[in-house]
């Protein structure tokens, strides 16, 4: 945790020195974002292709329902999908609502050494809110990358900014993402078992996302920057005519660099669960092992020599030696 935290603090200081001290605005504002995007795209494709090349030897869907078998046994169409539509429905529910996490329970040794399982929904709730808020936040940022801004971005923004502080819309997702990231972080720090199994790779994305959210929120509500200039920079990037407007505060470059770090780090980290969830054989296979044979794709084409072939080859010699044969070739010939 200390290591991951120090790395993020180091990153922030690096940008601060680079922008404030060395005036490397072009490097941090143009080169790094392009570089991060290229690393993200190539890395993601590489990782997905690598996964795609791995064969799935067994039919291993994890199911939570009755498999389709005899007509009078009620089958569970979504929890134990047998058709592609069922698989799609189950995967969609998983991706959109984290259904498997909803089944999360906490196991404890209670009184009298009895193992008890308790309802534990906080992780599901925080995880779901975190992911949805992040999506909304990313989607809201389209107002910096599109011209004219699509109406749907506006409507989502006004829905999100339903509450108002002072003259400004207060985005509820800003608060939610900060609170949920903090929850996910504290969960790892405060629960001894979680802390024991947590690695720098678990803390680092949380710290980076926390840094992104915090810098973005401070930029929006406290240390304001010239937002029109920020959009000019963003539009320059997406139209491949990079411009570097004057007078954007250093906090913007910190925010941007942390986003770039997250993008570049993404393909090489646990964050790849974004693509991995779709490629998990326990999720994307239909539970149709009774109806269809799953052939291991890496099965080597074994050269077989059946007894019939064997006898065709050696039958005559066997007969000459007085061995019993199934089809006497002496009779045929």
């Amino acid at each position: 945790m200390q290591f991951a935290g120090l790395v993020v603090v180091g990153i922030i200081m690096l940008v601060f020195l680079g922008v404030q001290g060395l005036k490397l605005q072009f490097f941090f504002g143009v080169i790094i974002p392009y570089l991060a995007l290229v690393v993200f795209c190539l890395g993601l494709i590489g990782r997905v292709v690598k996964w795609g090349r791995s064969p799935v030897p067994f039919s291993i869907p994890t199911v939570h329902g009755q498999q389709k078998s005899l007509p009078w046994i009620k089958a569970s169409a979504i929890d134990s999908p047998v058709t592609t539509a069922g698989v799609v429905a189950r995967l969609a529910l998983e991706v959109l609502f984290f259904r498997s996490l909803f089944k999360n329970v906490k196991a404890e040794l209670g009184e009298g050494r009895r193992l008890t399982f308790t309802w534990e929904k906080w992780l599901w709730l925080a995880g779901l809110l975190f992911h949805w808020s992040f999506l909304v936040v990313i989607f809201r940022h389209l107002r910096f990358f599109t011209e004219p801004v699509p109406a749907v971005v506006h409507s989502l923004g006004s829905l999100d900014g339903f509450f108002q502080v002072g003259l400004q819309a207060f985005f509820i997702t800003d608060l939610i993402i900060l609170a949920t990231v903090l929850y996910l972080l504290l969960r790892r720090v405060c629960i001894p078992q979680m802390r024991y199994i947590s690695l720098p790779a678990d803390y680092f994305p949380l710290f980076v996302i926390f840094g992104i959210a915090l810098s973005g929120i401070s930029m929006r509500y406290f240390f304001k920057v010239d937002i029109a200039a920020v959009k000019k920079l963003a539009m320059g990037l997406v139209t491949f005519k990079p411009v570097l407007p004057e007078g954007i505060g250093v906090i913007f470059y910190i925010h941007l660099f942390l986003v770039c770090v997250l993008f570049a780090y993404f393909p090489f980290s646990k964050l790849m669960h974004m693509a991995g969830i779709f490629m998990a054989p326990t999720r994307n296979l239909a539970n149709d092992s009774r109806a269809r044979r799953h052939v291991n794709p890496w099965n080597y084409p074994v050269k077989v020599h059946t007894y019939a072939d064997y006898e065709a080859e050696f039958g005559r010699k066997m007969e000459e030696a007085g061995l019993p044969v199934e089809n006497s070739q002496a009779k045929v010939s």
């Binding site: 107002r143 004219p148 029109a228």
Partner: protein, 146 residues
Amino acid sequence: MAMYNGRSIVTGLVLFFALLTFPFWYGLGAAPAPEPDLNTPAIQKLVEKKCVENREFMRANHMELLKEWRNAVVRTGNRVYIAGDGKKYEMSLQNTCLDCHANIPPKQVKTTSNQLSQVQFCNSCHSYVGVKPDCWTCHIQPKEGR
């Protein structure tokens, strides 16, 4: 070595990257960034072309200033703003801000047909960055500004 379920994987990747690169292909015909128009009669008459505070501050923090002004005027009745350089200004959106930042200052607008777009100055940036100013929920928005 080929991919298993290659077609689904490639379709998924193509869809994802089509979405990811949306700003790039959407931005192909994007209009250039607007420059707020400072060429109004009132500004031209100014000797020192300076807003209430300096340009950088105004660009980033004008909404903070407006909030401060609103609170001072509405809650304490104080209408005098002392700027960083010691100059005094009347805290008023229509009589101070729009006096300069409109082609025809609000005071001189007599008829509706005469009304020019007073909020063009605000809107040039506000619609560019997709932020709806909250001024016109209390102040009456000039007709052609809509």
